[in-house]
Subunit: 134 residues, 2 copies
């Protein structure tokens, strides 16, 4: 397997995912980047496992006043066979405070990606936390 090519592919996938998520209107497209069994560990929330839980979370997020998420990932590491990868990212989540002022929390993320049988990379694990105490 050409890992340099896979590195470009998976970072491109992540960038497309981040763009779709930050636009915040195409729910099914945002969901399509996760595996069916993906696990999302968002700070302060119970673990979300699988597409139904993720759909509920993303849909709910899109309805929060002022909600916006952006991220950028780097530093991909592959298993030697090129079928599993993880990367580090930095994200920012903005929501409006009760008085309508945007409040942004920055975080560091780890995502784990699986190259599935169709050859496409999808995110199987998604966890982040904040560098600063909130």
């Amino acid at each position: 397997m050409d890992l340099a090519l896979e590195r470009t592919r998976v970072l491109q996938r992540d960038a497309e995912w981040a763009a779709a998520a930050s636009e915040g209107h195409d729910l099914e497209r945002v969901l399509s980047f996760w595996t069916d069994d993906a696990v999302l560990l968002a700070p302060g929330l119970a673990a979300m496992v699988g597409k139904d839980a993720l759909r509920q979370y993303v849909q709910g997020s899109m309805e929060i006043p002022g909600f916006r998420i952006t991220w950028r990932s780097t530093d991909v590491t592959f298993s030697p066979d090129g079928n599993l990868a993880y990367m580090f990212g930095r994200n920012a989540v903005t929501v409006n405070t009760p008085n309508g002022t945007p409040n942004t929390t920055e975080g560091r993320a780890v995502t784990i990606w699986r190259r599935e049988v169709d050859g496409e990379w999808r995110c199987a694990v998604d966890i982040w936390n904040a560098e600063s105490a909130s």
Copy 2:
């Protein structure tokens, strides 16, 4: 590769690591379970990368009054070649509050493990967050 055997091995490694960390006195033994280039993303702290940063962190932790960390990991997933693995865990970090009362924060962790050239599993990425807003 016998993945059932590797599953037992890596969970055993993690359990030995958790025991050493919770005993909290053998610094070098605790450090030996991480790869030399390991990345630790602890909530509220800057990223720690590599053994020197990890040594400083663990040593500092051992000096915090009432500090104790415990964890237990489950659900190992391997790359098909059996050289990279990730697992989920639950941890608890206790420190004393200023008046000396122990205060425990529970978290969910993701650790990523690499089977190194000597055949031993070591942790390359370590990140967690709290389920409840602190």
